[in-house]
């Protein structure tokens, strides 16, 4: 019976198992994870591989039989496509505006919520509510009940002060979209900044008062530097989500009027599912993914330095 191996000579660390057994144990540990891994590969990586394959073909679903290889032709088109560049700039404008405005408002609300007043719990819950609404619903709500020129609340209020009704969504499309996004994301910024404010030591603020700083100086010289990592964190996370804005645009402006509010995700959608230009849309998608990965990895690296310095500052 050769069930156990004789002690092997050689540089083996005491207690180390033979490699075969170790490998088997490692696999036993990984086994329960494999279904999840296979599922992940199946739903994300295989479609991506198909996308890459399609991106080298000219293929329009409207014209059956048009499918043929074009090499890098679709990619050349992406970089000469002015609509793509337009969508990219719209995207940047939309994200930067939404993040910046919601951050400023979020800081203001957080400072208000940081002081004690009766009913603070209810006010906080109400302020968080927009963040819990689905983006699709938020878009629909703003387009109809708030901004509609005929029965919208905003126009009703404007009429009360004698202003003629305005069709906000078509007159100020970018402002309308940004308003919805800010409405949704201000609570998020507020929560993160509030966490920062509440982690600030009260004695530090008192020390500043004794040192002769007024409320504004204290906020500028002591509180804002303390909040910096929290503001960076909120801004980065917000930007990561807002770059992918699709639902709100789809529900309110449909990217228009013209291409006024067409950002990259929406432009992609238009090319793939309205133009049925599978090859061109795939190339667009691949370029967008590569760009997103590049930006996201820089952002994530920044995020981790934020975390490590926050730890150090505590």
């Amino acid at each position: 019976m050769a069930t156990f191996a004789p002690p092997r000579p050689g540089p083996m660390t005491p207690g180390a198992r033979p490699p075969a057994a170790a490998r088997r144990e490692a696999w036993q540990r990984r086994l329960p994870l494999t279904p999840a891994l296979l599922f992940m590969i199946f739903v994300t990586q295989i479609p991506f591989v198909f996308t890459v394959i399609f991106s080298f073909q000219s293929w329009n679903l409207v014209r059956p039989g048009s499918q043929h290889w074009v090499g890098l032709g679709n990619y050349a088109n992406v970089f000469t496509d002015s609509a793509f560049r337009g969508a990219l700039f719209t995207e940047i404008e939309m994200t930067v505006l939404a993040v910046a405005i919601s951050m400023v408002l979020g800081i203001g609300l957080a400072v208000l919520l940081d002081r004690k007043f009766p009913g603070r719990g209810i006010v906080r819950t109400l302020l968080i509510a927009p963040f819990l609404v689905m983006p699709t619903v938020a878009g629909l709500l703003w387009k109809t009940t708030m901004l509609d020129p005929v029965y919208g609340i905003v126009n009703y209020l404007l009429r009360l002060v004698g202003v003629a009704p305005v069709d906000f969504v078509s007159r100020f499309p970018m402002a309308s979209i940004v308003t919805v996004l800010v409405w949704q994301w201000t609570p998020f910024m507020m929560l993160i900044v509030l966490a920062g404010l509440q982690s600030q030591s009260g004695e530090v603020l008192e020390a500043a008062r004794v040192d002769g700083a007024g409320p504004w100086t204290t906020f500028r010289a002591i509180t804002v530097p303390h909040l910096r990592p929290y503001i960076e964190l909120g801004g980065l996370l917000g930007a990561i989500y807002l770059v992918n804005t699709f639902d709100v645009i789809f529900m309110t402006t449909q990217g228009g009027p013209g291409t006024a509010t067409t950002n990259l995700p929406y432009y992609l959608y238009q090319r793939a599912f309205l133009g049925f230009d599978v090859g061109q849309a795939s190339a667009l998608g691949v370029v967008t993914v590569i760009g997103t990965i590049a930006v996201a990895s820089v952002a994530l690296r920044m995020l981790f330095t934020v975390f490590s310095t926050t730890e150090g500052r505590a």
Binding site: E206, R209, V210, G212, P225
Partner: protein
Amino acid sequence: MAEVRYEQASRIYPGTPPVMAVDRLDLAIADGEFLVLVGPSGSGKTTALRMLAGLEEIDSGRISIGDRDVTHAPPKERDIAMVFQSYALYPHMTVAQNMGFALNLRGVSKETIAEKVTEAARLLDLDKYLDRKPKALSGGQRQRVAMGRAIVREPSVFLMDEPLSNLDAKLRVETRANIAALQARLGTTTVYVTHDQVEAMTMGHRVAVLKDGVLQQCDTPRTLYERPANAFVAGFIGSPAMNLHTVPVSENGAQLGELTLPLPRATTANLTEVTLGIRPETLRLVGPEEAGFKLAVELVEELGADAYLHGRAHLGDSDQRFVLRVDGRTPPTIGQTVNAGLRDTGEIHLFHPGTGERLD
């Protein structure tokens, strides 16, 4: 340089029922004096300090610094500097910026600030750390930065709120001496809050003992130790604490076991009982033939030079605990029964058994 005066100053925390955190405090602190506020937690000592700092409202009475009434003045108009328990350093500023912050706000020129900061840093042995952030400093260094921040302002009053409580024991003793020396050198009026009676005794010119927001006694450390105004002060000042026991009064005096302590008749008239206060060093071990009371040894704390003996004596119809100081070289062992006597009957303190007031 200024004197500080509390006149019937009170602070009431709202609630049901409202709490008198500081109850009609009357205290006059002379120019250049080092006054220590001491008391157990919840005694209102920190609140009293924060009232002087302007961080806590004054509900009645008044507080003046120098000849200025500052009862309702904001902190920045009081010309005070405060050292906080947690040091409260500004985390994003370097040591130099921390120390210069107040001067910066006052619009002092950069050169003057740099000069004063360097001077204070030299005084506190911080010159090497001026460019560091607080997180890169040790606890003792942070404490010194907090001191430096107070010093560079050259205020008329220093306020210190338990500045040593976050240091380890050895550093605390060192820093204690440094702060006292620094204060003597600068001659700035200082109000210092602590719960540690050793700090209070070693640092203060005078010590004010508070309990439940009420001032119990304010005097020099020596007087507090030798003539405590009531049983609370007697028990609070001194380590280990004074033995306080209420014993019956007979014709001949107070009865402590077989030991009869003659009492001045005038002070104990009309009393059937009296509270005796006996310091651990007033008690001593005596031979079996001498007058004393029996003590069963429960614990011996050896401190090197001395040892503290914790024992239980059967007095009247109950067991009472006593602590006495004995020679550290030959302490009795646990379980032994020893005979305890007095070094000098004149060192005994007498307090009223009901009110706790001193009886002579």
